[in-house]
Symmetry: C2
């Protein structure tokens, strides 16, 4: 029972490295990450060698507590599996790793209460940054509680960045949802469509509301009749269900459907087809986001391109460049495809 015992051996500490290198703990610390260069280069290499030999890796929690700040970025999304959020997450993770930081992830699942709870417990992590993507915080008291919580966090030195949620006193990266929807409306009008249905989500979801309103406003400005509005879930299943409802009630004179995001639009296309209604032929369909699958469905989906990954990158950039409540707004662009073919004028 001399040395070969390989039981729960704990990882080497700075102490071990120092001993191995024959220097003090302080010197070892300085040699490995000292902001001060005041260490004899010979000792530096000695310490580095010892660290490498022992396969030493500094205990991040210990560093955090000693330094008074962590290296983590907390990301809160509605749903990782949704391509919209996973694209944003990909951008956040990339930028975070490039900055040498660590991402922690939490899923709010569309519940404002859950989101508030997450933010509350998140503070225990003492993250450097909190990024909220796709929150749904228009609901009365929860909203205020969340704002207060975030404000307190910021007062303690944290950075808050919201993605796609403006009107809150924090740095924000948005996309021009209203403008994009309006542009889409103009494009569809230009193609000859006149009677629309809009599949939108609950107004608490800001993204949905902005797109919905932008579309409506443009239609109204063009003197068009009000479109048929169907409220449903902000998901593929929601789009599918809304399309079924539309088919069931008989869609009268509706010529084109605008679903406020692509997964809804794609779900709707499949529902139409399942009901024997051919998207692109019997009814036009347009979405929003221009996620990858939009190219792969048939007919390819008309959409509004949103730089999702870029939004994630911007969020981190914003967080690191301690700007105030500034915000960046990404432009979007309509992409016309075969799901909305030109319509022969009535």
């Amino acid at each position: 029972m001399a040395d070969g015992s390989t039981v729960p051996s704990s990882p080497p500490t700075l102490h071990d490295v120092a001993r191995e290198a024959g220097v003090s703990i302080a010197t070892a610390s300085r040699a490995l990450n000292g902001s001060s260069r005041n260490v004899r280069s010979e000792n530096v290499s000695r310490v580095r060698a010892a660290a490498a030999k022992l396969n030493y890796e500094p205990h991040l929690s210990a560093q955090a507590i000693a330094r008074g700040s962590t290296r983590t970025v907390a990301l809160v999304v509605r749903d990782v599996a949704d391509p919209y959020f996973s694209a944003i997450a990909a951008g956040v993770v990339q930028a975070t790793e490039e900055a040498g930081l660590i991402v922690t992830m939490a899923v709010a699942d569309g519940s404002p209460e859950r989101e508030l709870e997450i933010v509350r417990t998140l503070r225990g992590q003492r993250p450097r940054v909190i990024i909220l993507a796709g929150s749904r915080i228009e609901g009365a008291g929860v909203r205020d509680a969340l704002v207060e919580e975030l404000a307190e966090y910021r007062t303690a030195g944290g950075r808050v960045v919201l993605i796609s949620q403006r009107d809150l006193p924090f740095a924000t990266v948005t996309v021009d949802n209203r403008g994009g929807a309006a542009e889409l409306a103009r494009a569809l009008l230009g193609l000859g469509y006149r009677r629309f249905a809009v599949f939108h989500a609950a107004p608490e979801i800001r993204t949905s509301r902005d797109r919905y309103e932008g579309f409506l406003a443009e239609l109204a400005a063009a003197g068009m009749p009000e479109p048929l509005a169907i409220e449903t879930g902000f998901t593929r299943a929601g789009g599918y269900e809304a399309a079924r409802r539309l088919v069931d009630r008989g869609f009268e004179d509706v010529e084109a459907v605008f679903a406020v995001n692509d997964v809804m639009a794609i779900g709707a296309m499949t529902a139409f087809r399942d009901a024997g209604v051919m998207p692109g032929t019997d009814i036009a369909v347009a979405g929003f986001d221009d996620i990858e699958p939009a190219l792969d469905v048939l007919p390819p989906l008309t959409s509004v391109a949103v730089p999702l990954r870029e939004a994630g990158l911007s969020a981190m950039r914003l967080a690191l460049s301690d700007g105030g409540e500034a915000g960046v707004r990404h432009p979007v662009g309509v992409v016309l495809r075969d799901s909305t073919p030109p319509r022969r004028s009535a």
Copy 2:
């Protein structure tokens, strides 16, 4: 300048709570999360009230260092934006949150070296669990280094779980890739197909290799000629490109394409269509994974259903129920759709 100064106020500590409640730090600690029940209930509520009033949240790093263990689960994936991995990640996150733990995420981007580097620095987090999904570790020395690194981590009390990567001395959750591919081959033979092309990825990607080999083995067992193999990327772009190559060379007598995952298959379908070759009509296409978009493309994609989210859940379950090198293997099932219509016998 008395009390209203709201500058960088740091978050309340246990000390503050104790003072506010009029008890000692030790009592406060015990009242909030002490495993020992030896605290007067009156004091418990007093402390709880103080904590609530101050909006106290325990410093996780401090707890980690005091307790000697963190509450984090480290997840390493190839790419968050890929629906395959985001589905797995969703499962992992869900199970982790249910267990009251925290997920950190890192992206390996398909590089074994990067993955090794990630695992190395990950040890600094002292995570309770490391989950590797979709690694690519068959490459010579990197593989051994990774195994050694993980083994060392485990010796220090950490739990390692691999998803979709067997043959390594760690707990593993796999899906029956070989069996599923063989079953798919049988099904396609049953539909009357005889001449195949297979789009597969580099053999270092174990998942791809297993599916490829399973498909080949079944074909061979049935006395079929060897299929045309095209190696490409494990992504949508890879599938697209492989399909282009197949079209360019003229695909002779190939009747059906098996792409080793759905995103490749979907990319291939789009490429075929772009080239004027109608998938399902001019050429059959089958994939693997049965991700959601498989239902939305036209024709709907024949695939092999893999319980991705379940795999993520299993991984966490495995990690928490300190089993040894055990493993779970999820069954898969062929789902025939219109992308592989029955073929009139030759």
